[in-house]
């Protein structure tokens, strides 16, 4: 490799870094600052197909399959036939189940819309006029893993890009200092649920474990715990100086430029992220409104991230499968619902106060629902045939109920909504025709909804 510097004219590192900053580095940085000022996305390979109703998505994911009959889909017939297995319906699922198990929770009409909500969800009842409650969801697999893959990626096998990767691919990010697709998952990493698969890897979700409120611990590897910021800057300056010299010697190359930029972004992200991720920066009253559990802090963090331009925040309620109540479901729900209810409702109110709800679509639900019949006496089995999800904001109609399950809550029977329909609708709100958001891989076009999905126009405001 030829050396352009004659012996004797020994430049110091700082001189060299300084002189190089006048070249490529200055352009890159100015470009990025410009984007931050104007909020223009840095790259949108697919671009929206039409004017989007929502710019952001927050998915509140209740892993395990929450019980719709105890929360949002009242079924008085369960009491009438308590303990029985009426001949008229086939209530079989994968495991041995008993008779119909009534919900002990009282439902009341709430809000102007008068939607019936269980006593387990007093706070969500208070914002029910913002909610579009879909009581006729169904999915195609009764097992957690495949059903979870399906709702995350449109396919039961773990090989397709996740919803978030598609959104990031379609919209790019609004803030170069943060990833466009953030996953908050207390105590759990399941990397393949937020994978980019064959989409370019920059679209994969960036995962943070939000069990601990301390951002230093939440973002363990974001921050270099061997070197402080100054020492890291020294190291980065040397890397970039070597990279620029290398670039001069081999000729321009978009990959090399991209990598030089990515190193800068990574460095800056360490510091911006530490600020953003610190919910301690919120006023005490706001923190109080959400609560102080991992899920509650996750909801608050979701709002902070959305506010700063993150496209998609995917928040898991907790580690493992917390809503998988095969036993003692009533006791479990009494314990688990309060913080979920309080924080989810706080998120909706908070987004609304800040004028962000219109442009932020909030989606709540799990991979399936639960059976109206009991399992092991006081639990409920998996139910892929009918369950409830809700959406709020982002251009969907509030205060409505869509679809219904049969009289026991077992099968969706009216206005059935598949997971593909849900995906098609989410993409629609973000400005995409789900049939046109495709990616050519291995010689054919793939899409999130495969060959399925219908946009639920009747849900849209």
């Amino acid at each position: 490799m030829p050396d352009a510097t004659p012996p004797g004219t020994r430049l110091s590192r700082r001189q060299l870094v300084g002189s190089l900053c006048g070249g490529f580095g200055a352009v890159g940085l100015a470009g990025m600052l410009q984007e931050q000022l104007t909020g223009a996305p840095n790259s949108s390979p697919a671009g929206p197909h039409f004017a989007p109703r929502a710019k952001h998505l927050v998915f509140l994911f209740m892993t395990g399959g929450p019980s719709h009959m105890d929360m949002l889909d009242p079924k008085p017939a369960l009491l009438r036939y308590a303990g029985e297995r009426p001949e008229s319906v086939d209530l079989r699922t994968e495991r041995m189940t008993g008779g119909l198990l009534p919900s002990p929770f009282e439902f009341r009409k709430r809000g102007k819309s008068g939607i019936e909500v269980s006593e387990l969800l007093p706070e969500l009842g208070g914002v029910v006029d913002e909610l579009c409650v879909i009581r006729s969801m169904y999915t195609f697999n009764p097992t957690h893993g495949p059903a979870r893959n399906l709702i995350h990626s449109g396919n039961i096998a773990a090989t397709r890009p996740s919803l978030g990767a598609w959104i990031s691919y379609g919209l790019g990010t609004e803030n170069r200092n943060l990833p466009g697709f953030v996953v908050l998952s207390p105590g759990h990493r399941g990397g393949n649920l937020w994978r980019s698969a064959f989409l370019p890897a920059e679209h994969q979700g960036t995962h943070f474990d939000n069990t601990d409120a301390d951002p230093e611990r939440m973002i363990r590897y974001l921050r270099n715990d061997a070197l402080g910021a100054d020492a890291q800057r020294l190291q980065l300056d040397l890397i970039q100086a070597l990279n620029r010299q290398h670039r001069e010697s081999v000729g321009g190359d978009s990959y090399l430029d991209a990598r030089i930029q990515a190193m800068e972004t990574a460095y800056r992200m360490q510091f911006e992220a530490l600020d953003v991720f610190d919910v301690g920066n919120e006023p005490a009253a706001v923190r109080e409104e959400y609560g102080d559990t991992p899920y509650a802090r996750g909801c608050l963090l979701a709002r902070r991230l959305v506010e700063r331009g993150v496209r998609y925040v995917h928040l898991y309620y907790g580690p493992g499968q917390p809503w998988d109540d095969h036993k003692t479901i009533n006791r479990n729900l009494r314990e688990r619902c309060p913080d979920m209810d309080r924080a989810s409702a706080a998120l909706i109110r908070d987004l609304k106060r800040r004028g962000l709800l219109d442009e932020t679509l909030v989606v709540w639900g799990g991979e399936f629902g639960r059976t109206p019949v009991s399992e092991a006496g006081d639990g409920r089995d998996h139910n892929p045939y009918g369950f409830t999800m809700w959406m709020a904001g982002g251009g969907v109609r509030g205060g409505i109920v869509h679809g219904q399950t049969d009289e026991f809550g077992f099968q969706a029977v009216e206005d059935r909504v598949s997971v593909h329909d849900l995906h098609a609708t989410i993409l629609n709100q973000l400005g995409f025709d789900h049939e046109r958001l495709t990616y050519r891989y291995a010689g054919r076009d793939f899409r999130l909804t495969d060959v399925h999905g219908t946009v639920l126009r009747e849900l849209l405001a």
Binding site: Y221, L238, V250, D325, K327, T438
Partner: protein, 903 residues
Amino acid sequence: MNLRGAGLGVAFTDARSVHVAWTDWSRCVVAWGSLLGPVGWLAAAPAQSDLFSETVQPTLKQNCLGCHGEANTFANLDLRTREGAIRGGDRGPAIVSGNPAASLLISAIDHRGDLKMPPGGAEKRLAPEVREAFRAWVEAGASYTRADATDATPNWEFAEEDLWAFRPVGNPAPPIEGVDAAGVRTPVDSFVLARLAEEGIEPAPRADKVTLIRRVTYDLTGLPPTPEEVADFLNDRSSGAYKSLVERLLDSPRYGERWARHWLDVTRYADTAGYSNDFEWPNAWRYRDYVIRSFNGDKPYDRFVLEQIAGDELFPQEPEALIATGFLRTGPWEHTGMAVAAVTRQLFMDDVTHHVGQTFLAMTLGCARCHDHKFDPIPIKDYYRMQAVFAGTAFARRPLAFLPDEQTDGLEEGRAPFQARLAKLQSRMDHIHEAARQRLAAVKGAEVAKAASSGVLQGYTDKREQAELLKLLRKRVTMHKLSLLRFEALAMAVSNGLVPEWDVVASRNSYLKPEDYRQAKTHILVGGDIQSPAEEVAPGALEAVERYSGLAPPDMPDGMEGRRSALAKWIADPRNPLTARVMVNRIWQHHFGRGLAANANNFGKMGGKPSHPELLDWLATFFVQQGWSVKAVHRVILYSEVYQRSGRHPDSSLLDRADPDNAYLARFSPRRLTAEELRDSILAVSGELSDMTGGPGTYPQINSDVAMQPRHAMGTLRPLYEAEPTRRRRNRRSIYSFQQRSLLDPMVEAFNGANPDLTCERREASTVPTQAFALLNSEQSREVALIMAERLAAEVPGNPVDAAFRLAYSRPPTHSEKSLAEDFLGDMTAHHVQSPVPPRESPADVVHDITSELTGERFAFVQPAYTGPYEHNPHPSEATPKTRALADLALTLFNSNEFIYVY
């Protein structure tokens, strides 16, 4: 649930439960829209006369005629004409004109009776508006008004340019016209130069020697050259210097390790079976080592094909050939007590059919699983004819003594920690069993208690947490027992029909029986759905190959025995137009970053067309003439000028305009290292790369956060990830890493490692900030950087900067680089003097919480971070500030573009 597959000739009893493992991974997205039928534009009801052309006809075309009219007439029903529909099929008339209520077609699309169409369950039911339109149309007389509906020829036309891969392979002479003979080293140059001349592009000059030795060393071994190797090459001024370099590398055992990785990407290799339990395939590693040996020994490719598809049938006495059949089985597969046997069996059948098609023929066979291929001349029938070849193929874990070439040195050392852990697990389990047994005896008597299984005893534990713990221990015992099998002389192979003593399916009582294999029949499954069996098919291969190339179809035997041999021989036939082209294209792709045909796994219409079709054919012919020698193809490529060109073109603006993707190869395209190359290179330049080869998968150090995370194994927690205790065992080449489907090394993942669930034709090379975190901030790279620093401090204390650059970049630093690096070392040493590091923390026990499926309560399980002695890497607290600064420099070099990109 007593469900048996349609392919096995037994009826279903519960339609719903078939959804248990219904997989639709291979359904093709149709570029022009949805198959679900027209919906949106029906908002305003069209006039009666428009019903047919606007709704009925397109819906029939999209949803019905594929099976009832175009390529097939299942159930003898042809819906292309009104006459056909009224005549009906096996179940009688489909349409009674003017009477929708009596029309079977209407009840079928409404899902009112037992016949529900289109197949695929409620999800595929036509939209209400569409069904309403059909009803109104039948009511009005079911008129087929449009002439094209009676057109009997399927809309399945192929342009000649899309059929290139099926045409016989030509043997074109290397072009002479317009080719400057001075630039021709091998015939490859002639073809490329002729094309460049046509395009009016001058080729770039030859690369310098440092670039060349890095390029070809990475290419053939996946590792950087050592400074000594670089010096030798630079000092060899003979004309044969480059040739001897290539020959040395082709002879190196590292060559097979590198090229086997490419093959294992294509064959979706992993050491585990994926899905919920992700149980181990304990002897899969012998297949991985077989692939390495095959490349190192330059096994003729036709033989390589025969062995992997039918080694057990064709060469039953040759152990290598039995190990080779592991290829058929390395895909994801799982059968559990909750699954339906026919569905599980179909998982394997679809996996093997698709992957045989992708691997050897570069055909996306999976697209023809549900319907005739949308783009290529592969009818659904061909898919199931290929599938029928495997109808009798059963999993077999066959006893097979280790070969002299196989690595058996480390087996005892590897086995010991598993045995120790198993003993601990078993003793904890015995303890709980004993207490439960006493409790059970008190209730049901000693006889019952004595015979009780662990599952029964689980109901008699003294506390409910004990039951959950028992479940966890039982799963871990199963996993450890499986893991111990990897040290045994067993081969992961197949047999024709079930051989009970080789049986490997855990939940046998609910899986196939020997008679199921003997009687196995293969039906076309409409929509890929085992609920919708249509006509039975005989084993066979792709009819398009015969139609367009003239190669006769495989000569299939009557019974189960020999079907795979027939298919394998047909694939390995020199006249098969696909096989040799596919392989030489893969080889080309790995040398140049992209294939002559851009999609190495798709030679159909949707794959990239060859940029140099004549060169591809010439290479394919040459390959066969050279006895299918892969190394012969390497030589003819590597010796060419094309391969030795500089990455920098003198007229880059012309090139950016005329050939931005560098398809005509005027220059060499640089590439980023793959994840495995990056890890191996860092270990290599640090002097830490272990020389151990072969044997069961090893556990490298991975991100500790990921290693300690709780991971589910169907209802319970799987054991923590434990890195190998010794540096020599854990710092081996990445190809020897244990490939767990549910846990990819996050470092490998960040740098676009292959997803082993599906075939990977080519690695992506993305650039994201998270890669910087992985490489710059992770403890693994920092620790290896410290190892390199200690090596530099010990070996070249006088001039570590110079040595570091020579190791990492194969060249000394420039003056300015050297001064930058020395300034940096000074600054960082000063920094470290001020910032001492606390000693290494001993790893704490890990507590994992899950919600118990048995009790609905939180269940906490405590496990120690390490279960045995552990040889740590050096720690910064044990190093001087100067060495720590050197480690910072090493890490800087690992993160720089010159290290990460090959030119």
